[in-house]
Symmetry: C3
Subunit: 156 residues, 3 copies
């Protein structure tokens, strides 16, 4: 293994800490993935973020977050299939207040992410070449979803 020091900004060099918090509202079109990478990049730019990290937090228990491949759309179809197999609708769930899709949505949320953390360096998100950030809607019907974006670090 090897380690490269990209930046080491100790007390004297990072002269100020900024916190910026925004609410991103996404209207999903029902079960599936929505790419929100551009919105996060815009938030980083608007906040004047230089070095630190952006955290994402989704305020729901039937929709979640993931970072996945951005190139071939069939990856997202296969991921949807994989989640359906891990949490099928006909598995004899006790909780079905909002229909057969209700409990599978909670299970899928538990198996993926409610919060994510992406480092920022030189004013850029440090995502890999093939990474995009997605909201995953687990309910069959469209929903309005809220994601809290927060940058903490050096800005200017």
């Amino acid at each position: 293994m090897s380690m490269t020091s990209l930046s080491r900004s100790l007390s004297s060099t990072v002269s100020a800490t900024a916190i910026a918090t925004s609410l991103l509202t996404v209207q999903s079109s029902g079960r599936g993935f929505t790419d929100i990478t551009a919105e996060i990049a815009k938030f980083v730019k608007d906040a004047g973020a230089k070095e630190g990290a952006v955290t994402l937090f989704i305020r729901h228990t039937s929709a979640s977050l993931t970072i996945q491949e951005n190139a071939d759309p069939s990856v997202l179809e296969d991921l949807t299939t994989a989640l359906d197999r891990l949490a099928p609708e006909d598995a004899g769930w006790r909780h079905d207040t909002e229909g057969p899709n209700d409990m599978p949505a909670h299970v899928k949320t538990m198996l993926t992410a409610t919060s994510l953390h992406i480092p920022v360096l030189k004013s850029e998100l440090m995502l890999g070449t093939w990474q995009a950030v997605y909201l995953i809607e687990h309910r069959t019907r469209p929903h309005r979803r809220e994601i809290v974006l927060q940058f903490a670090g050096a800005s200017g």
Copy 2:
């Protein structure tokens, strides 16, 4: 999509950064979910947290964290069932030092969360209406579990 700037506190306006670290000890009553939301809210209040984020870190590999529905208790029963199906006891595990429940507990921990991140704004946790924070005990018997709570941000 639309974005609302909830708060944008740049260098000049956030005049100080606080870090507060506490250890939450939870005695689980065996396999299942324990709601720890009230303890986290108390920590945020005691720390004088204003804007930033609370991170949770569980110091175990056979218990984990999740954010899930807080309304219908049958959701938690179904989530327990779902985890049992994804990591059954009779799956021919090699590692069984602490009994048939040993390895399923590790698998369930890997599939859920060891660390969580919840934003704080105006001194309040930004949880959604239906969200609660849970410790998930994966072992059959009761255990004493440690969770590190840390706030970083502006306080006063």
Copy 3:
């Protein structure tokens, strides 16, 4: 439940905030787990970290991160088996650009972690006794993987 205040450093006592960002490059030897705990501890030491947190972010969608037991190597074998069962190669995936192992690697990444957060107190990672941090390589062949390490907090 009981809560112990390990440290509560409010504005006046934490006089400076440091952010240190490094890139850890790991050459995996194909499917399986690589323990990176020592590298993270070295990063914490080199950054002069005192109180705060280290975040890890893996820049890939076919490799991921987890915190798991560090004692019995058969745990890691069983975890590999568990992931193979949850995302088998012969499940009729649509996306197979890089072979039958391609799509299972994406599913396994989605079910584990892309980012992790570990608190630091008194210059030490607050890992539990049995916890180690692992890179999980999901592809069959060896790959070069990049992990961004970032400390934010008080240093000196």
